[in-house]
């Protein structure tokens, strides 16, 4: 059944989780994602699902670890300072191969930062801020509808790879309202979670299950040595890199200048691209949907015929990824926000100005 609603992005993430069959949410209040946690507090208990307001983001991520260990689909959400606290947990979830979803509604600056919109968490989300060189798939929606859809895709990918998946939202996407089609998406079948803990008598084979964030440290039948674990982990990362690159390209075929932008900023970039086309300039846009794995190959192919302009609401974090793939790369960052006030955004005409400058 398709339901059409006018909803905020933060709430759309909740409806997406519900459609994905999420059974538990753990969260701690932090702006600008409070509507999301409050949505779960309101909607989950009456449906017989678990909601716990934790004592900290450290607790949220560890509750998520416990929840994922039971095999249930579980989720948390946070914003930048809370994301910092969750890094140890993210690393442990990756080691224990526990699938779960984290929605990160990022805010500005390092430290406490600001509650203003920004894309300052690109690097910590895509590189893994905890110990040990793990990675997680990072999806970057650009609309309320995509937030809802990406949460569902994130659950599927988390289960497919037994790895945490991040949906990277921001204050604009979280707070704005757009029409939303609420519906369950089908991404295909998944293997049963016969590794989950239940109590020994509830397993068909009667064998115990042990889930540990010390794989590679404690030898196991599956991974007798550290290298066995690392090789398996490497295979997983390579499989994600090979199969989970997602992006969208607009008007790139004949483009001389290609904008690269993700999330809410990509909306401004698309508008500027269209305006530049109307002025006869051959401008295109690539919007990475998976920030990790990043669409390096797509950009590498395009760089033979075009130069690039990266537009993002930070000081240039995705810029480094585009530079790795492409030759000539220009950058327009948060310091070029349209209004000379701190609440300002990068509006399309500021992007257009930059296009005209580097075209």
């Amino acid at each position: 059944m398709v339901q059409r609603l006018l909803l905020q992005g933060n709430e759309a993430a909740g409806w997406g989780a519900l459609a994905a069959g999420c059974g538990a949410f753990f969260g701690y209040p932090i702006t600008p994602q409070n509507e999301l946690t409050e949505w779960f507090a309101r909607e989950f208990p009456p449906r017989g699902k678990v909601f716990v307001q934790s004592q900290s983001e450290t607790a949220s991520i560890n509750m998520l670890y416990g929840a994922a260990a039971t095999g249930v689909r579980a989720m948390t959400s946070t914003s930048s300072p809370g994301w910092g606290l969750m890094q140890e947990g993210m690393s442990n979830l990756a080691n224990a191969e526990l699938p779960c979803v984290v929605v990160l509604v990022s805010r500005g600056g390092p430290g406490v930062g600001t509650t203003r919109h920004s894309q300052m968490d690109y690097t910590s989300a895509t590189r893994g801020g905890g110990g040990g060189g793990y990675r997680n798939i990072v999806l970057a929606p650009w609309s309320v509808q995509e937030l809802h859809d990406h949460v569902q895709l994130a659950f599927y990918l988390a289960d497919k790879y037994r790895n945490p998946t991040v949906v990277l939202s921001d204050a604009i996407l979280g707070q704005m309202a757009e029409p939303l089609e609420v519906k369950a998406l089908d991404f295909g079948s998944l293997p049963p979670k016969d590794w989950a803990v239940k109590g020994i008598t509830r397993h068909q084979d009667g064998q115990r299950r042990g889930l540990s964030a010390g794989q590679g440290f404690f030898p196991s039948p599956q991974y007798p040595t550290y290298l066995d674990f690392m090789s398996a982990f490497d295979r997983k990362l390579k499989a994600m890199r090979a199969s989970e690159v997602r992006y969208e390209a607009h008007c790139v075929e004949d483009a001389r200048l290609i904008l690269v932008a993700f999330g809410s900023t990509a909306r401004m970039a698309l508008e500027a691209t269209q305006a530049a086309r109307e002025r006869g300039m051959k401008v295109g846009l690539v919007r990475p949907i998976s920030l990790w794995p990043f669409p390096y190959e797509a950009i590498r192919k395009l760089c033979k015929s075009a130069k690039f302009l990266v537009v993002e609401d930070n000081l240039g974090q995705m810029l480094e990824d585009v530079e790795m793939a492409a030759g000539e790369v220009h950058f327009l960052g948060m310091l070029a926000r349209h209004e000379p006030r701190e609440q300002g955004m990068v509006f399309p005409d500021k992007v257009l100005e930059k296009i005209e400058e580097v075209y």
Partner: protein, 264 residues
Amino acid sequence: MEKVRVTGGSPLWTRPEFATIPFCPGCQEPVASEALLQVLEETGLVGEAIAVVGIGCNSFLPFLWKMDFVMAAHGRPPDVATAVKRILKYPLVFTVQGDGDCFAIGAGSTVSAAIRGEKITIIMLNNNNYGTTGGQMSPTTLLGQKTSTTALGRGGNEEGFPAHVAETMATFKGVCYSARTAVNDPASFQRTKRCLRTAFQMQMEGLGLSFVEIIVACPPNRRLSPLETIKWIDDEVLAEFPLGEFKNVGREEMEDREPVEVKG
């Protein structure tokens, strides 16, 4: 799979699939574990038991048990156990933690689970130091006790005073049971079993959080022989940390802790 009787007793001990697991000579963590396994066997709860451990010597134990387990980050077992219990609802969920895991790095998790009155059991093995990392000071190190980070002996003004965890846990309304026991002689071993049985029973009745602190010997880090360590526990540790039940309340007293019924 071959059974290994580590301390001779419960058939719930099992050889890990991969390696031998070392405990130092005279370590009482396997003894406390034997009491735990005997209770699980006698109460028939083992089939639905899920153990949650953090980091420390005790985190090796579940690899030796015929039981489902989750190994979490240092200090986080109460958070992990909270989720496991709230989602599955039916099992016996207990944590096994050291005193550092439970009340230093994990103090926030332990106290918060107590505030929320989670229907779990926390078992804290108190060996008065950080055993795994080489005997550094922990929250329960005695005043004057020499450790590798208190070379002159713990001084209250510099390093603070020993934490009384079982007494502290008893002060939370969400806690229905709190006890401190030891395993230094056969009688205390039996008392430990009784305390664990009560704690598990109260969890299964859904009364609130139950807590059992078990004093255990860690001879190498005391630089004492196993027998000398037991004498030190008898003479000094138990003088600082008296054994006993600090809280044991019935359903009436926990009534306003009754959870909202959550459907499966």
